[in-house]
């Protein structure tokens, strides 16, 4: 997987490149907006991470130019402007996800992986399956090892999101944004309580736990074999 990082803060970019390399990615870095436009036109990247504020050409212009040129590589926009409107502007310009600085590296990694999977475009599913856990999206039912599990609507939405990202780390902020449509972090970690309730329902009485907590990052639903 080859990534392009467009970031004028050299120190932040160095950390990012190091972290991404350790996670198995090949990451190129450019600090200038114009340089970034040449790179995305000349080379093929699997995803682009763009800072909004850049010298010469700003982040949103880069995304817009890419989209106009027919380049549909997933784009993650980074911004210091922590504002909902900015988020909407960023997504409207053609960005696929928006992350506000300062962010945890685990958050960046989880979102990046989600973007790369989305790029692969799975056919629309009517059922989701992780190990012996099955979800029917049409009938809105969930079964584990053939036994039906009763879920409240929000629990269903939460499990659906986890199952769609099965095997990958999902952060608390991602859950708040995608399941609750909240773009702020509550003072107390309310998400943890929701997860533990869901865990009670799907993992209790089964030998193999599916819903794992990833320390310092979030959660992951995975077949732990």
């Amino acid at each position: 997987m080859r990534l392009l990082i467009v970031e004028d803060d050299l120190e932040a970019a160095a950390y990012m490149v190091k972290g991404l390399k350790e996670s198995g990615y090949v990451a190129d870095h450019v600090a200038d907006g114009r340089e970034a436009l040449y790179r995305v036109a000349a080379e093929s990247y699997d995803a682009v991470i763009v800072d909004r504020m850049l010298p010469s050409v700003d982040g949103l212009t880069i995304v817009r130019t890419m989209r106009t040129a027919g380049n549909h590589a997933p784009v993650l926009i980074l911004s210091a402007l922590g504002d909902v409107d900015d988020r909407v502007k960023g997504l409207r310009a053609g960005g696929d996800d928006y992350l506000v600085k300062p962010y945890a590296f685990a958050e960046l990694l989880a979102r990046l992986e989600a973007l790369l999977r989305r790029g692969r475009a799975d056919p629309p599913d009517t059922t989701l399956k992780v190990a012996d856990l099955e979800m029917d999206l049409v009938a809105r039912t969930v079964k584990r090892a053939g036994k039906p599990i009763e879920l409240k609507p929000k629990e269903f939405a939460l499990l659906e999101y986890l199952m769609r990202h099965a095997g990958h780390v999902v952060t608390r902020t991602m859950l708040l944004e995608n399941v609750w449509d909240y773009s702020f972090d509550p003072q107390t970690n309310v998400i943890d309580v929701h997860i533990s309730r869901l865990r009670q329902k799907i993992d209790k009485g089964h030998d193999k736990p599916l819903l794992a907590t990833i320390r310092g990052a979030g959660y992951s639903l995975r077949d732990s074999n």
Binding site: G82, W180, S183, F184, Q187, V193, R197
Partner: protein, 457 residues
């Protein structure tokens, strides 16, 4: 020398304009007085002459030439003061009767009226005379006149008085304008001087007031009130930055101490990892504090009002309750909902959700097990209301203002986790929505009410 500042003052300019207008009206008035006094006397002289000529002409037609001569002679004799002038001549201008030695030289303008200066042999002063010439039947020439020297003197006196009057008006007006301008300038200078000192940094300085209650005092009063408000706001900002510095020093010290101790001697990778994880947690908390501060600043700037949308309070509350329900249940609290449907406010969903989440967070955090938290949406007479009530320890009445301030935390809650920014954010969001935030006693517990203005207000 008049200082240039005074010359440039708008008061002086105003008083000059005023003086010009006033001078003009005085001029018109004086002209009127002049024509109605001097003009009246002139007309009266002419009428007397006319009457006399008419009288003499009648005498001539009735008594003939000798009769006329007799009448003229008796009139001359009666006029001891010599204020009247008569002369009757034959067709060759030889005097027949009268008190003029010879026929006066004059230019006939056709009207018969003329003015002449007669050399007076008795007095050294020449006499100014107004006369009328008349041709009697039989080619006898008659002039009748009046000495107008007195009247002309009077004329000059009146004219002099008028010129003096006008001059005095202009001088008094000018001096008055100058004095008024100087007085105004002096009072404005006091204000300017105080303003400059305040600008130079002496924020405790105030503009002096003379206590007369005039417009300058009112201006000074308003400026002072503005300065008080600015000082109050600046004190608030100072207080906030002090609080920020104070509250951030704690976690930073902890981080530093933790890292320092772990560096003091070599440790196992597990020990290092534990320290790093603790550091990350501390830093995350610091970042959350900063985010909260930024959100508060954003809400307080009021710049977000233009993108307000209609928000259904019941669904907003239901979503938030759904998020906190498991947490409440875990703590052994009952979460009661009473949500009136169809209650909408114009607002920012993101900020309102965050404010409500903060209120629920606090309620769940401070209410002991076995208690309850109630979330209510209602349509009160004053407008939509959102209420969060709990059965926790509550906030004493004297501290209800204090807890809305940034970083304010009551002694009793020092050991509970939290940034002390939760209610500040609620207050800022309420302010953004022009809603009033009220903290009251839920007996027992705390009741927080956000009362929105009625739609369309």
């Amino acid at each position: 020398m008049i200082p240039t500042k005074l010359l440039r003052s708008s008061t002086l300019r105003l008083s000059i304009i005023h003086m010009a207008a006033f001078g003009l009206s005085v001029l018109v008035l004086l002209w009127f007085i002049y024509t109605s006094t001097a003009g009246f006397m002139e007309r009266q002289t002419d009428e007397t002459i006319n009457a006399e000529i008419q009288g003499l002409a009648e005498q001539y037609s009735q008594l003939g030439l000798t009769g006329l001569i007799r009448v003229i002679k008796s009139r001359v004799a009666k006029d001891k003061a010599g204020s009247s002038v008569y002369l009757l001549t034959d067709w060759k201008f030889n005097p027949l009767a009268g008190n003029l030695p010879e026929w006066p030289k004059f230019k006939d303008t056709g009207s018969g009226w003329f003015d002449a200066t007669l050399e007076d042999t008795e007095n050294f002063e020449p006499r100014r005379v107004r006369m009328r010439y008349f041709l009697l039947p039989g080619n006898f020439h008659l002039v009748v006149g009046r000495d107008v020297s007195q009247r002309l003197k009077m004329d000059r006196l009146i004219m002099d008085a008028l010129i003096w009057g006008l001059g005095l008006t202009l001088v008094l007006g000018g001096v008055g304008g100058l004095l008024t301008s100087r007085w105004m300038l002096k009072r404005i200078d006091v204000i300017n001087k105080a303003s400059r000192e305040i600008m130079a940094g002496d924020l405790t300085r105030r503009i002096p007031s003379r206590g007369a209650g005039d417009e300058f005092d009112r201006l000074a009063g308003n400026l002072n009130a503005m300065l008080d408000q600015i000082t109050k706001l600046m004190d608030g900002v100072k207080q906030v930055s002090n609080n920020i510095a104070h509250d951030l020093r704690g976690p930073l010290n902890r981080i530093r101490a933790g890292l320092e101790i772990s560096l003091a001697k070599s440790r196992t990778p597990e020990e290092y990892q534990a320290v790093l994880e603790a550091t990350v947690t501390e830093i995350d908390n610091l970042l959350m504090t900063f985010n909260a501060l930024l959100t508060i600043a954003q809400a307080e700037s009021g710049a977000r009002r233009q993108d307000f949308t209609d928000i259904d309070l019941a669904s907003l509350a239901a979503d938030a309750a759904e998020l906190y329900d498991p947490l409440a249940e875990e703590k052994g609290l009952a979460l009661h909902l009473s949500l009136a449907p169809g209650v909408t406010v114009a607002g920012n969903r993101h900020l309102l959700s965050q404010a409500l989440a903060n209120l629920l967070d606090n309620a769940v955090k401070y209410t002991p097990s076995g208690g309850s938290v109630s979330l209510m949406v209602s349509s009160a007479p004053g407008g939509p209301e959102l209420t969060v009530a709990d059965t926790g320890p509550g906030v004493p009445a004297e501290h209800r203002e204090l807890v809305l301030e940034r970083f304010a935390r009551l002694e009793s809650s020092r050991n509970t986790p939290g940034s002390g920014l939760g209610l500040s954010l609620v207050a800022a969001v309420a302010g953004l929505h022009r809603a009033t935030l009220t903290l009251s006693d839920n007996a027992p517990g705390l009741r927080v009410t956000v009362a929105f203005p009625r739609a369309g207000k």
